[in-house]
């Protein structure tokens, strides 16, 4: 959090209340902070997450709720990177993504390089779904794109392929330089009928704010899984050697890989 200038009187006014109420809370919070930093306790805590994922794996193919045009959010909020300043990306924006191609490779028999025209020529699906951000907000938008299943059929994944990794054009500035955004999903979600490579939002070409020229829609998971600014799909057997090895940019920061809860 940023340091702020604040009048001392305003803070003092309520400081006594904080002290009175906070004594017990502070004790508990302090203990929890220390516990959370303990490695084996952190592992125990993540048991909740493991349970969440097991319950989901036990279930069958379920469909995300679809909405009507009346439910559409007036404007679809962009979050995270909404105007990437990476030079290569800015150059593509300048040319209207004319030279952009989606590379699909890794554990596949027929690697491909697909232009926007190639993707638009494939069978399309349009769906009005709700985007649930991990922060707690949600927005409803209408997405049009090619189901990822069609792209996978074209590149013929090898039997060893277990995950699709999405490499993106955007990055986040960190202490040790720019860290590129990436995400990954398993083959169950990859073949799900509502999993799209979307090129249109609300009947308009996907804007830069929301991931132009192509973004992932993997409904039934939280917003950070919906990778924007897609450049390359890589099919892999495991993702431990990509990024920090947790399967995504936010996963590497401690967020859950399975983001269905």
């Amino acid at each position: 959090m940023n340091r702020l200038r604040i009048s001392p009187e305003a803070l003092a006014k309520r400081r006594f209340l904080r002290r009175a109420l906070g004594g017990g809370g502070a004790l508990l919070v302090g203990g929890c902070d220390r516990l959370g930093e303990n490695e084996s306790f952190a592992k125990l805590l993540s048991a909740g997450e493991t349970l969440n994922r097991s319950v989901r794996d036990a279930g069958g193919v379920t469909m995300a709720q679809e909405f009507t045009p009346a439910d559409l959010s007036p404007s679809f909020r962009g979050n995270g990177n909404t105007d990437p300043d990476d030079e290569d990306y800015k150059a593509m924006v300048a040319t209207g993504f004319a030279d952009w191609k989606l590379v699909v490779d890794g554990l596949v028999d027929a690697p491909a390089s697909l232009s926007l025209a190639d993707l638009r020529a494939m069978p399309a699906r349009t769906q009005i779904t709700r985007h649930d951000c991990v922060e707690g907000w949600s927005a409803i938008g209408q997405w049009t794109g090619v189901p990822l299943a069609h792209v996978l059929e074209r590149v013929k994944p090898k039997p060893a392929a277990r995950y699709v990794v999405f490499h993106c054009a955007d990055s986040f500035a960190e202490e040790d330089g720019d860290t590129p955004y990436y995400e990954s999903i398993d083959m169950r979600d990859a073949y799900h009928p509502q999993t799209l490579l979307a090129y249109a939002l609300n009947d308009k070409t996907l804007p830069v704010t929301n991931g132009a020229p192509l973004r992932l829609r993997v409904e039934r998971q939280l917003g950070y899984k919906q990778a924007k600014y897609l450049m390359r799909l890589e099919l892999v057997a495991d993702f431990s050697d990509i990024g920090e090895g947790k399967g995504g940019y936010w996963e590497d920061q401690g967020y859950q890989w399975y983001a269905g809860i």
């Binding site: 702020l4 803070l11 998971q221 967020y255």
Partner: protein, 286 residues
């Protein structure tokens, strides 16, 4: 005793212990204390990531948020904490919106670090805490329900009797005067106590769990559209938040009643199970 006893029979003892709470109730009670406490504090940190509430199927429906904790720069250049409820603004600097961080420096955050888990901003960690103790709360709650229905604890101890309903008005007056049943009458829960426990067990806790599930995109897909029973996903989030504070209000009243009606006796009975009944002395005639 120097005075001669006229009665041939020994008098009943003035007080005795009896088994008030069986071990499954005691165990599930304290697991509830632990999990609800941590769920509240980690939940407030999760709320800090998006400190506003909306009603509807999404956050962006064209209507403003009905509740919001935020901060802004005041005319004198200082940053103040603002809590906005149905368009009415309150200056909540120091508590909500702007508060001292662990390092003693003022920071802009909805709920202050001394009431959140973890104390510094971390949505990822608070989610780990929240989901672990959510599982504990649900499994513990199921164990309590199964035990309480099979052992007839609910039917025997919690369901109000016809006599309870007749004493409803008097029970309200007694509570307002902090008067509590004495002697044998203290063996049973009073009618307000029964109703509040039933409301927590069968209304508030199921509601907060259901509203929590309604926020999960995967659980949404199990039966598409079920979250609309709340009025939509964001309404469910608001319900989750409001019910959390209703539970806090219940706990505050519950602890207050324990404090004013014999704190050690109640604490002992929730730890060892034994509760002391003290029979008021009969007035003696000289």
């Amino acid at each position: 005793m120097s005075e001669p006893t006229l009665s041939p029979k020994p008098l009943p003892p003035d007080s005795y212990l009896y088994l008030r709470h069986r071990w499954p109730v005691r165990l599930t009670h304290w697991l509830n204390v632990l999990s609800l406490g941590i769920l509240l504090m980690s939940g407030l940190m999760i709320f800090n990531a998006h400190p506003s509430l909306d009603w509807g199927k999404s956050s962006y429906t064209g209507r403003p948020s009905f509740f919001e904790i935020t901060s802004r720069e005041a005319a004198d250049g200082h940053v103040i904490g603002i809590t906005r409820v149905f368009g009415h603004e309150f200056d909540t600097t120091g508590l909500l919106g702007v508060s001292d961080g662990a390092d003693g420096k003022a920071s802009a955050i909805a709920f202050p670090g001394w009431i959140t888990i973890p104390s510094r901003y971390s949505l990822a960690e608070s989610r780990l805490w929240h989901f672990f103790f959510a599982w504990l709360l649900v499994l513990n709650g199921l164990a309590y329900l199964v035990y309480s229905l099979i052992s007839r604890h609910v039917q025997r101890d919690l369901a109000p009797t016809r006599q309870d309903w007749r004493g409803f008005g008097r029970s309200i007056r007694d509570h307002l005067r902090f008067r509590h049943p004495q002697g044998e009458a203290a063996r049973d829960y009073n009618v307000l106590q029964k109703l509040s426990y039933l409301a927590v067990v069968f209304v508030l806790l199921p509601l907060i769990v259901l509203a929590g599930w309604a926020m999960s995109p995967w659980l949404n897909s199990l039966w598409p559209g079920w979250v609309d029973i709340f009025g939509g996903r964001q309404s469910a989030r608001a319900v989750h938040f409001i019910v959390a504070w209703l539970l806090v209000a219940f706990v505050a009243i519950h602890v207050f009643e324990v404090l004013v009606s014999g704190v050690w006796n109640h604490l002992r009975s929730m730890v060892t199970g034994r509760y002391r009944i003290t029979t008021p002395k009969e007035p003696t005639h000289e």
